[in-house]
């Protein structure tokens, strides 16, 4: 069964460092998303991406964040200068279509710990 894969599963970094989280969406999906979940809290929307550009982003997704689809398979989330409050589980997701998005297929998450 096709699945969304994320790497790394866990990353520990120092405050102020840059972090790149990687995702490989399901191959025929067109819409890609990043969500985050601070430990014990709700899943929060960060950004959606379609046709090589951001289609929507939340207020959390400030200038410290960027997304990119550098090739035909990867979808990355970069945090330029990490802060303590960026510590969270980051979920990548993909979906088939816009009109009937179906469910979001989530990866297993990348846990980011900022020290």
């Amino acid at each position: 069964e096709p699945e969304v894969t994320q790497t790394p599963s866990h990353q520990v970094t120092q405050m102020g460092q840059e972090v790149i989280l990687r995702c490989v969406p399901i191959s025929n999906h067109l819409y890609f998303y990043w969500y985050r979940q601070i430990l014990g809290q709700k899943v929060e929307f960060l950004v959606s991406f379609y046709n090589n550009e951001i289609s929507e982003k939340s207020e959390i997704f400030d200038d410290q964040f960027s997304v990119e689809r550098p090739d035909g398979s990867n979808f990355t989330l970069k945090i330029r200068s990490t802060k303590l409050e960026d510590s969270a589980m980051y979920f990548c997701a993909s979906s088939e279509g816009r009109v009937a998005p179906g469910e979001l297929f989530f990866g297993e998450g990348s846990r980011l710990t900022v020290l």
Binding site: Y31, K42, V43, F45, S48, M89, A100, P101, L104
Partner: protein
């Protein structure tokens, strides 16, 4: 703006009891989708069901059933004859446009 409210933070039941998880949403979208996801202790998000705003038919899948009522903006989820393996956090979510908003989740404990 979209908003999803899951008023029950935690529910604890004994195995074989039925349990209903509530979800109320607010939206300005005329076309939207509602979802339930399960997050077991291992942390991944597991899709359970999708409903679009034009389909108010209730659905049953095994021990799971969903009651969508547009008039009250609710999309409740019932587990019949709960089992220990049902213990998880359950999230209700709303999709309008490119954004899916999740509720705060309901943590369900099922005791043997």
């Amino acid at each position: 703006a979209q908003k999803v409210t899951q008023a029950q933070t935690e529910i604890s039941v004994v195995e074989k009891e039925d349990v209903t998880l509530d979800c109320v949403y607010e939206t300005r979208d005329t076309t939207y989708y509602l979802f339930w996801y399960k997050q077991p202790p291992s942390g991944e998000l597991v899709f359970l069901i999708r409903r679009n705003s034009f389909d108010e038919q209730n659905e049953i899948s095994g021990r799971y059933s969903w009651n969508f009522q547009k008039s009250t903006s609710s999309f409740n989820f019932t587990i019949t004859a709960s089992q220990v393996v049902d213990s998880a956090v359950y999230f209700c979510a709303h999709t309008g446009g490119f954004k899916t908003i999740f509720g705060a989740g309901t943590r369900l404990f099922v005791k043997a």
